[in-house]
């Protein structure tokens, strides 16, 4: 499938806006998951503004596709997308993680329009997604389920239980996207808990595996379309990404897994947004 330049450009603009929204949620001195949110921002923009069927007016539209943020700590990137869809007022972004706020520290389906499940305890989201996929299939629904996983999260045994079950049940309406940024909370995945041959592992469990550069919009779109076209089982998109992508001071650094920026960094971060905007328009 070919994608018009205009579509690709528009999605790149969206990804920049998503990152800008993330920044809005974590002003200087406020702790937030910058790294793991920005690493998956391009994929999330492609999903919400191109691939997924979602209604702009009704977050609970029965005909919608579902997205489960299994790596729930990176929910800022999802809030950033949901705000763009207009599911809540932009002013909520400034109130993230405040007492009784609409935007909680981790995904809360009862609070936030567009959040589909409760996640935060890592390792459970793929299972929840599988259950949704099976339920939708029982109802003969055409809708699809997307699960966003962290590569550190893959150390949870339950992930592999779900991987096996999804394959047994040939859940072709399920797509897992692994944010393969190689960094976790305290250090690199290579140092903490390396899992060898990740691509082969998913394949050997019977999944359709697609490996991409998770910051290349065309590759992302192609992978998502290929996942849709595959009807023989679930698809895993292993997306090579950079934690903290687009914010050079944070890129690849575990420190920015969940940190506060100082004034200087925050200023630089906004400059990065401006630079990106110029690059896309050029």
């Amino acid at each position: 499938m070919e994608y018009s330049q205009e579509i690709v450009k528009e999605l790149k603009r969206k990804a920049i806006q998503v990152r800008a929204n993330i920044l809005e949620m974590i002003p200087p001195g406020k702790v937030g998951h910058l790294g793991g949110s920005s690493s998956i921002a391009d994929v999330m923009a492609a999903l919400y503004f191109h691939t997924m069927k979602v209604s702009r007016t009704n977050p609970k539209d029965p005909g919608r596709d579902r997205l489960i943020m299994s790596k729930g700590h990176a929910v800022l990137v999802q809030y950033a997308c949901l705000a763009e869809l207009g599911y809540f007022d932009r002013s909520e972004l400034g109130k993230v993680k405040t007492f009784n706020g609409m935007l909680q520290g981790h995904p809360d389906m009862d609070r936030t329009p567009g959040i589909e499940a409760v996640t935060g305890s890592l390792g459970q989201g793929l299972s929840v997604s599988l259950g949704m996929a099976l339920g939708l299939r029982l109802d003969k629904s055409e809708n699809r389920v997307y699960a966003i996983l962290g590569d550190g999260e893959l150390a949870e045994g339950q992930i592999w239980e779900a991987v096996m079950a999804a394959s047994v049940y040939k859940a072709s309406n399920l797509c897992a996207i692994i944010d393969w940024n190689g960094v976790q909370a305290t250090s690199t995945t290579a140092e903490i808990f390396p899992i060898a041959n990740l691509v082969e592992k998913w394949k050997s469990f019977g999944w359709n595996v697609i490996e991409i550069d998770g910051h290349d919009m065309v590759q992302i779109l192609k992978a998502l379309d290929a996942a849709k076209a595959y009807t023989d089982g679930p698809t895993a998109i292993l997306a090579h990404t950079i934690k903290g992508k687009c914010f050079p001071f944070a890129e690849g650094k575990a420190k920015y897994h969940n940190a506060a920026m100082n004034d200087e960094e925050y200023k630089i971060a906004w400059q990065c947004i401006e630079t990106m905007k110029r690059e896309v328009e050029a």
Partner: protein, 312 residues
């Protein structure tokens, strides 16, 4: 009307019956379907039965996903695994969002006598009732099991039901109206009230019989909903008695006894809690040996009643 003494067979059969009209009911199991009797459903409606392998955590979270698409998933395993192995999954994926997932803990208490401590579940009530939104049910016979399964399907939200592996005689009235949260007097009495659950209901009835000969009149109340506990009704049953005893096939910590104790904290009634001590189970060649060893026989209930009456 139920005449079978098997709680788990009743459980499976009732779901088969309900599944005929309610297409949203789905069952999941983790390689123990012939023990939990969820296999009956598999035979009737294979497309709505999910064999999830020996992977209880995935089963619990997958059930959450199914419920989010409007299904009513029942997940099945031994009580010890259904509650403990997937505790965080039940907490995070299911109860925080108050999802409509039903959990059946089979072979609860010491009832899996042969398999020993790893398979005996004397902490499941504690684990499940500490979770907000969770309802905890503990039937004492097959009649109640059938009524409960029907009520579980009719109710919204997470429910845990613990089921005895062994046959238990029918002691409840099949014609009585049932609803979750109701406790019922099984034996009339005026000196002491025994709040019992599960197999301890029949043990307490026998204890009341023993004590009658000594001139002690014991009221036995079947508390088959551990949570939510109807405090007003509970206090009503304490009206006029001299003391209270609780009896359960579960740890004395965190189960029915603890819950009744908090409910009675403002009353001046002496209370004795009968249950398994702060210890694990053990294998035995039959169930009766364990009931004797852990002090869950009628004579033990009777002794607790005498003890509590001796408290000044």
């Amino acid at each position: 009307m139920r005449t079978s003494d098997s709680l788990r067979k009743t459980y499976g059969e009732t779901l088969v019956e309900l599944g005929k009209d309610n297409k949203n009911i789905v069952l999941m199991e983790a390689d123990l379907g012939n023990s939990t009797m969820s296999s009956l459903f598999a035979a009737a409606y294979p497309e709505r039965y999910f064999q999830m392998g020996i992977a209880e955590q995935n089963m619990a979270s997958t059930a959450a996903g199914l419920s989010l698409t409007g299904k009513i998933p029942f997940i099945n395993s031994f009580a010890v695994f259904a509650s403990g192995r997937a505790y965080d999954q039940i907490r995070s994926s299911i109860t925080i969002a108050n999802l409509n997932v039903k959990i059946c803990g089979s072979s609860a208490g010491l009832s899996d006598y042969g398999d020993g401590k790893t398979h005996q579940s004397i902490d499941d009530i504690a684990l499940m009732q500490v979770l907000p939104h969770m309802t905890v049910l503990s039937p004492c016979d097959a009649v109640e099991t059938e009524q409960m399964v029907k009520a579980m399907v009719a109710s919204k939200g997470p429910v845990y039901i613990r089921i005895n592996r062994n046959d238990l005689p029918i002691v409840t009235n099949p014609n009585a109206e049932y609803h979750i949260g109701k406790m019922t007097q099984i034996v009339e009495g005026k000196d002491v009230v025994v709040f019992a659950t599960g197999i301890m209901v029949q043990q307490s009835m026998a204890a009341a019989e023993l004590l009658k000969k000594e001139g002690i009149s014991v009221r036995v109340v079947n508390v088959s909903t551990i949570k939510p506990l109807d405090k007003d009704v509970l206090l009503g049953y304490c009206d006029g008695v001299k003391a209270v005893v609780t009896a359960e096939e579960h740890s004395i910590i965190g189960g029915l006894g603890s819950t009744v104790a908090s409910a009675l904290s403002k009353s001046r009634l002496p209370l004795e809690i009968l249950g398994v001590g702060d210890c694990y189970g053990t294998s035995a060649e039959n169930y009766d040996i364990l009931l004797k060893h852990y002090g869950l026989e009628p004579k033990d209930v009777a002794q607790k009643v005498r003890d509590v009456l001796a408290v000044k």
